[in-house]
C-alpha cells in the first residue's frame, strides 16, 4: 500500500478524539475555558450517540449528571431538552439516594448536542479517523488522521469509547465493528501500543430493538413517568419545566424463554469460549442471568421507546449474544412479544481499553505529558461515567496548558472524585459502573446539593458561568436564612400548640421548642409544621428540600463530616510524582513495588492501593516529615 502523504491540517490547543459523551464534555470544557479545540470523530452522525439504553441518570449515575452540570458541563442541559419521561428513583428512601433517571429521545439528544458543539466559537468539528498520536520527548504534540491530516496540539484527549478494535458477536458470527453498525477504529490501538500503553479487552452487550406495532402492550404493565417532573440541570430548576411524557412497559420472560436459552447455550460465544473480553456483572446478558440464577423462573423485561419519531423500542433486560434465530425465538417467548418483529439484533461487543492505573487523577497519562484518556477507553461503562471523565480530562487539559494547578475532586467532594479515584487507584476488572454504594460519604454527596458542593469550583476555573454561580450563591443564602429563621421561631407549650402537635402524631411539649428542633422529630416534617409557622416565606421546592434534609439528618451528616476531616488529612499530604520509593527505608517490598508503579499523588491515595499497609503509610508520613525538615534546615543555612 502506498504511504499516505501527510499535511498540516491545523494548529490547536486541544485535540479531542471521539464524539461520544466523554468527547462532548471534554471538547466543550476546553473550548469554554478558552482553548482552541478540534473534535475529531469517525462519523459526525454518531455525536452523543446512545448505542445502548435510551436513558440518562439512575442511582449514582444521576448524581454524576448533576455534578457535571454543577461544574458547568453540558449533559444535564441537553437531556433536559431531549427528555421524554422522568422519574425520581428511591423517593421512599433517604434524600441522599434519590436519583433522577429520564428516558431520552436518542435522536433529539444527538441533534441537540451537535447543535451546542457547532455553536461553540472555540470548537471545530471534523470527521476523520485518528490513526496515530505524535509524542516528542514524553510530551504529546498532536494526532494524525487516516487521510494524512496532521493536527498539531498542546494536548490530546482520547475518548474513543468502544470503537478500538471493536468486534461484534452474534452467536457463531463475529466481525469487526464499532457500536450501532459504525466502523471500528482498528489502527489507533497499534499507535497506543507503540507508545508502550498496554491494552486489554472488555465487553458489553445490548438487547434487540423491536417494532412498536408488533408488541401487545395489553399484556404488560404500564410504567408512566412522575407527575411532578424535576429537571436535571440546576439552570432549569426554577423555570416552569414541562415535558410531554411517554410511558415504558414492564413484562416478563417465561419458562419457555429459559428453556430456549438453556437449549442453545453452546451456541453462545461467551459459553463457547470465543470471547476473551470481561463483561460487567451489573449488566449481564439474559443467558448469564439464566446460568447464574437457575432458580429464578422469570426475569423482568422493560420496553422503552428509543425516541418520539421512531417505532424502534428498546427491550431492556434481554441483552444477548446468542445467534440471531435463537434471539428471535427467545424474544417471542416473552409475554406480549409473541408476534414481535426485530429491527436490530442484540449483540455483544468486545473492545480495547487501557488499564486506568496508568493515569493521574487528572486523567493525564503518568508518563506522557498532556495525553489524556476519558470514558470507556479507561474501562468504565455508561454515558454518565464517560461524560464525567470527559469533563475532568477537558478541564485539566486546559489548566495544564494555562500552567495552572490541576483540578482534582476527591472522594469526599463528589461522585466524580469517587469514580476517578476508583479507576486510577484501584483499577477495574470489569466495565466500571457508578453506584452510590461506592461512595463512602453518600449522605453529603447528594444529587440535590451538587451545585452547593461544586459550582463555585467550576466558576473559579472559568467553566461555570457567572449566571450559574450567582444562582448557587442565592440558593445558599436562602437556605441559610431559612435555617436561621427556624432556629429563632419558638413554639410555646400552649394548649393550642400541643393540640396541633398531637394531631400531627407527635408528643406534647413542656418547654418552648424551636421549629428547627421540632423538625428533627421523625414523625414531623418541614411541610407538616407549616401550621405552627405563620410567617413562613414562600420558598422554592429545592430550598425546602435542602432545609429539611439539613435538619433531619444533621446528626448523621455531622458524623460523616468528622470522617471526611480524617480522610482529608492524608489526602492533603502530597507525594511527589518523581519519588523513587525504593530509596525509602522501612517500606515493605510489596509496597515499594506498588508505589513505584502507581506513583500516587498523596498519602491518602497511597493508602488505597492494595498491598500498601498501615505501617507503610506511617513510614511515608515520617519520610515526608524528614523531607520537610531537611528543606527547612537547608533554608536556614
Amino acid at each position: 500500500m502506498k504511504e499516505v502523504k501527510k499535511y498540516i491540517a491545523g494548529n490547536y490547543d486541544v485535540v479531542v478524539v471521539g464524539a461520544g459523551h466523554a468527547g462532548c464534555e471534554a471538547a466543550l470544557a476546553t473550548a469554554r475555558m478558552g482553548m482552541k479545540t478540534i473534535m475529531l470523530t469517525m462519523n459526525l452522525d454518531s455525536i452523543a450517540d446512545m448505542p445502548c439504553n435510551p436513558n440518562i441518570g439512575g442511582t449514582g449515575k444521576g448524581h454524576l449528571v448533576r455534578e457535571i452540570d454543577a461544574l458547568g458541563g453540558q449533559m444535564a442541559l441537553t437531556i433536559d431538552k431531549a427528555c421524554i419521561q422522568s422519574r425520581m428513583l428511591n423517593t421512599s428512601k433517604g434524600p441522599a439516594v434519590h436519583s433522577l433517571r429520564v428516558q431520552a429521545d436518542k435522536k433529539k439528544y444527538h441533534t441537540e448536542m451537535k447543535k451546542v458543539l457547532e455553536d461553540e466559537p472555540n470548537l471545530d468539528l471534523r470527521q476523520g479517523e485518528v490513526v496515530d498520536i505524535i509524542v516528542e520527548d514524553g510530551e504529546v504534540k498532536g494526532v494524525v488522521t487516516r487521510t494524512g491530516a496532521i493536527y498539531n496540539s498542546k494536548a490530546v484527549i482520547l475518548a474513543t469509547g468502544t470503537y478500538l478494535r471493536g468486534r461484534i458477536f452474534i452467536g457463531e458470527v463475529n466481525y469487526e465493528s464499532g457500536p450501532s453498525g459504525y466502523s471500528p477504529a482498528n489502527l489507533l490501538s497499534d499507535a497506543l501500543k507503540r507508545l508502550g500503553i498496554g491494552l486489554r479487552r472488555f465487553k458489553t452487550g445490548t438487547p434487540a430493538r423491536v417494532h412498536r406495532d408488533t408488541i401487545d402492550f395489553s399484556k404488560m404493565e404500564i410504567q408512566p413517568g412522575d407527575e411532578e417532573v424535576v429537571p436535571f440541570s440546576f439552570m432549569n430548576m426554577e423555570k416552569d419545566f414541562h415535558i410531554d411524557q411517554v410511558p415504558c412497559y414492564l413484562t416478563y420472560t417465561t419458562e419457555k424463554t429459559k428453556e430456549i436459552i438453556q437449549n442453545n447455550l453452546d451456541r453462545s460465544p461467551l459459553y463457547a469460549g470465543e470471547m476473551e473480553g470481561v463483561g460487567p456483572r451489573y449488566c449481564p446478558s439474559i443467558e448469564d442471568k439464566i446460568v447464574r440464577f437457575p432458580d429464578r423462573e422469570v426475569h423482568q423485561v422493560f420496553i422503552e421507546p428509543e425516541g418520539l419519531d421512531t417505532k424502534e423500542m428498546y427491550v431492556q433486560g434481554v441483552s444477548s449474544s446468542l445467534p440471531e434465530e435463537v434471539q428471535i425465538e427467545m424474544y417471542k417467548s416473552i409475554i406480549g412479544l409473541e408476534n414481535v418483529k426485530f429491527m436490530r439484533s442484540a449483540y455483544a461487543i468486545e473492545y480495547d481499553c487501557i488499564d486506568p492505573t496508568i493515569l493521574k487523577r487528572t486523567l493525564e497519562h503518568k508518563g506522557i505529558k498532556n495525553l489524556f484518556f476519558a470514558g470507556q477507553i479507561n474501562g468504565s461503562s455508561g454515558y454518565e461515567e464517560a461524560a464525567a471523565q470527559g469533563l475532568v480530562a477537558g478541564i485539566n487539559a486546559a489548566l495544564n496548558i494555562r500552567g495552572e494547578e490541576p483540578f482534582i475532586l476527591d472522594r469526599s467532594e463528589a461522585y466524580i472524585g469517587v469514580l476517578i479515584d476508583d479507576l486510577v487507584t484501584k483499577g477495574t476488572n470489569e466495565p466500571y459502573r457508578m453506584m452510590t454504594a461506592r461512595a463512602e460519604y453518600r449522605l453529603t454527596l447528594r444529587q440535590d446539593n451538587a451545585d452547593l458542593r461544586l459550582t463555585e469550583k467550576g466558576y473559579r476555573i472559568g467553566l461555570a458561568t457567572e449566571e450559574r454561580y450567582r444562582k448557587t450563591l442565592k440558593k445558599k443564602e436562602l437556605i441559610e436564612e431559612e435555617l436561621d429563621r427556624l432556629k429563632r421561631i419558638m413554639v410555646n407549650p400552649t394548649e393550642e400548640n400541643n393540640k396541633i402537635l398531637e394531631e400531627l402524631g407527635s408528643a406534647k411539649i413542656k418547654n418552648p421548642f424551636s421549629l428547627y428542633d421540632l423538625i428533627k422529630r421523625p414523625e414531623l416534617t418541614y411541610e407538616k409544621l407549616k401550621v405552627l409557622d405563620e410567617n413562613r416565606p414562600d420558598l422554592p421546592r429545592e430550598i425546602r428540600l435542602q432545609v429539611e434534609t439539613h435538619i433531619k439528618y444533621e446528626g448523621y451528616i455531622r458524623k460523616q463530616m468528622i470522617q471526611i476531616e480524617q480522610f482529608k488529612k492524608l489526602e492533603n499530604k502530597k507525594l511527589p510524582m518523581d519519588l523513587d520509593y525504593s530509596t525509602i527505608k522501612g517500606l515493605s517490598n510489596e509496597a515499594v513495588q506498588k508505589l513505584n508503579k502507581m506513583k500516587p499523588d498523596s498519602v491518602g491515595q497511597a493508602s488505597r492501593i492494595s498491598g500498601v499497609s498501615p505501617a507503610d503509610i506511617n513510614v511515608l508520613l515520617i519520610y515526608l516529615e524528614q523531607k520537610r525538615r531537611e528543606k527547612k534546615e537547608n533554608s536556614n543555612d
Binding site: L89, K93, R296, M435, Y553, K585, N618, I622
Partner: protein, 460 residues
C-alpha cells in the same frame, strides 16, 4: 494528631511497678476523670511534673482499681511535646490492664505501635537521625503484632468476627442493593423488622465477645489450668517444679482460699494460671466440703486439666472419679512415680481415656516435665484449648474496636427504631462492619459489591 493516645509503657510481666502513659491534648482531662487523690482531689489541681498520690477508679463500677502515683507534664516540654500523663501502679498484668481500660473508656484511644515516638518525631522532638529508629520501631512492632494475629489462638476470634461481619455484610448488601438497584425484581424491599432482628443479633454477639474480654481470659489472666489428683500423687511437687523452671508472674493473689493455691507462670510466652486443688475427695465434713465444691467448680471452669495419677499404686475410687471428670475435657494425664514399680501401664489409660495425651513422669526426678510443657504449648498453639466460650478477646486493641462496633450498632438500632431512611442507617452499620474488619484484618469495601452481585440477580 488531635486525639489522645494511651498505652502500657512498661513490659508486661514480673515487675514492681507498671506505667500507663497518655499523650495528647485531652490527656490531663481524661486522667482527671478516673483519678481520685487523697490530699488533692483532682489531678488538675496538682502541680505540673509533680507526683501525686491517689487511686484510679473504674468509671463503670466506681470501684478502686489500684493505688497509684500519678504525674502530668504540660506541653511542650514532654517526650511527645503534647500533654502527657503517667500513671504508676502496681506491676503484673491485672492492674496496668485495668487502668488502661479505664483510660480508654474515658476517651483516649489505644496507641498504635511506636506511636508515642512517632508523635515525638512529628512534633519536632526527635532529630532526623532518630527518625530512622522510629521507622524501625513501627516496622518491628507491626511485624510482630502481625505474627501474633496469625496465631491460632486469635484464629477463633477472627472466625467469630467474620461470622458477625457476614451478618452485617448481608444487611449492607441488601440495603445497598435496594438503593442502587431499586427497580430490580430480585431485590425485595428491606424491612425494618428484618434489619432490627439482624442488628440485635450482631449487638448480642459483640456484647458476648466483650464479656469474654471483661472476664479477662488467657493472655490477661493466663490459661486456666487445674492440677487434679488424689492426695500424695505429686501435685504440689509438679507445681513447684513448673514454678522453679519458669518465671512466676504473680505469686500473691488476694482472694486465694486456703483450699486452692493459685500460681501464675509463663511457659515460653504462654501464661498459665495454675490452680492446685486441695484434692477431690468425697467427704461429709462440712468445712472441707466447701473446699471440695470449689475444686469441682474450678474444674468446670478450667481451660486445661493436668490429672496426676500414682502409677506405683493401684487405682482408687477417687482416681476413677477423676477419669470420669476429665473424660470430656481438655486434659493431659500424668502417670507419676513411674520410676517406681508400675501397677498398670500407659495402654491401660489409653483405653480409659482415648485421645488424651498420657505422659510418664517422675516429678521428683524431674523426668517428663519437659514433655508436659511441650504438650501444653502444643495444645495452646493448635487452638484445641476449649475455653469456656471458645473465643476470647485478649487484645486491648481488639477490645477497643469491639467497643466502637457496639456503639455503632447501637446507633444503627436506634436509627432503625426511629425509622430513619436506609442510607442513614447504613452509615452506622457500615461503621460497625469496618470496626470489626480492623480486628480480622478484612477491610475491603469491594466485598459489599461482590455480595450484591452474588446474592441478587441484577441487570435490567
Amino acid at each position: 494528631m488531635t486525639d489522645t493516645i494511651a498505652a502500657i509503657s512498661t513490659a508486661i510481666g514480673e515487675a514492681g511497678i507498671g506505667i500507663v502513659r497518655l499523650s495528647g491534648k485531652d490527656s490531663i482531662e481524661i486522667a482527671n476523670k478516673i483519678f481520685k487523690g487523697s490530699k488533692i482531689d483532682e489531678l488538675k489541681k496538682a502541680e505540673n511534673r509533680k507526683l501525686t498520690y491517689g487511686h484510679i477508679i473504674d468509671p463503670k463500677t466506681n470501684e478502686i482499681i489500684d493505688e497509684v502515683l500519678i504525674a502530668y507534664m504540660k506541653e511542650p516540654y514532654t517526650y511527645t511535646r503534647e500533654n502527657v500523663v503517667e500513671i504508676y501502679c502496681h506491676g503484673g498484668i491485672i492492674s496496668v490492664r485495668k487502668i488502661l481500660e479505664a483510660v480508654l473508656e474515658s476517651g483516649a484511644r489505644l496507641a498504635e505501635p511506636g506511636e508515642f515516638t512517632k508523635r515525638a518525631f512529628l512534633n519536632g522532638r526527635l532529630d532526623l537521625a532518630q527518625s530512622e529508629a522510629v521507622i524501625d520501631l513501627i516496622r518491628a512492632k507491626t511485624d510482630k503484632s502481625f505474627q501474633v494475629s496469625l496465631n491460632q489462638l486469635e484464629g477463633n476470634l477472627s472466625k467469630k468476627i467474620r461470622e458477625i461481619r457476614n451478618t452485617l455484610l448481608e444487611m449492607l448488601a441488601h440495603i445497598n442493593a435496594s438503593i442502587d438497584f431499586s427497580e430490580e425484581e430480585d431485590v425485595d424491599d428491606v424491612t425494618y423488622m428484618g434489619l432490627e432482628e439482624k442488628a440485635r443479633l450482631v449487638k448480642d454477639e459483640i456484647e458476648r465477645l466483650l464479656k469474654t474480654a471483661d472476664r479477662g481470659k488467657i493472655l490477661r489472666d493466663g490459661l486456666n489450668t487445674v492440677i487434679l489428683g488424689k492426695p500424695n500423687v505429686g501435685k504440689s511437687s509438679l507445681l513447684n517444679s513448673i514454678l522453679r523452671e519458669n518465671r512466676a508472674i504473680v505469686t500473691d493473689i488476694p482472694g486465694t482460699t486456703r483450699d486452692i493455691i493459685e500460681e501464675y507462670v509463663n511457659i515460653d510466652g504462654i501464661p498459665l494460671r495454675i490452680i492446685d486443688t486441695a484434692g477431690i475427695r468425697t467427704t461429709d465434713d462440712v468445712v472441707e466440703k466447701i473446699g471440695v465444691d470449689k475444686a469441682k467448680d474450678m474444674v468446670n471452669r478450667a481451660d486445661l486439666i493436668i490429672a496426676v495419677f500414682d502409677v506405683s499404686s493401684e487405682l482408687a475410687d477417687e482416681d476413677f472419679e477423676i477419669v470420669e471428670i476429665i473424660k470430656d475435657k481438655n486434659a493431659i494425664v500424668l502417670l507419676n512415680k513411674s520410676d517406681l514399680p508400675n501397677k498398670y501401664d500407659k495402654d491401660y489409660f489409653t483405653e480409659l481415656l482415648p485421645g488424651k495425651k498420657i505422659i510418664n513422669t517422675s516429678i521428683l526426678e524431674g523426668v517428663g516435665i519437659d514433655i508436659l510443657e511441650e504438650e501444653i504449648k502444643n495444645i495452646f498453639y493448635s487452638g484445641t484449648v476449649n475455653i469456656e466460650s471458645d473465643i476470647v478477646v485478649t487484645n486491648m486493641r481488639h477490645k477497643n474496636q469491639l467497643v466502637k462496633a457496639k456503639k455503632n450498632i447501637e446507633d444503627g438500632l436506634e436509627g432503625i427504631k426511629a425509622n430513619m431512611p436506609l442510607d442513614c442507617i447504613e452509615v452506622d452499620i457500615k461503621a460497625c462492619w469496618e470496626n470489626l474488619g480492623e480486628i480480622s484484618g478484612d477491610t475491603v469495601s469491594e466485598d459489599i459489591l461482590d455480595k450484591i452481585f452474588s446474592d441478587f440477580c441484577i441487570g435490567k
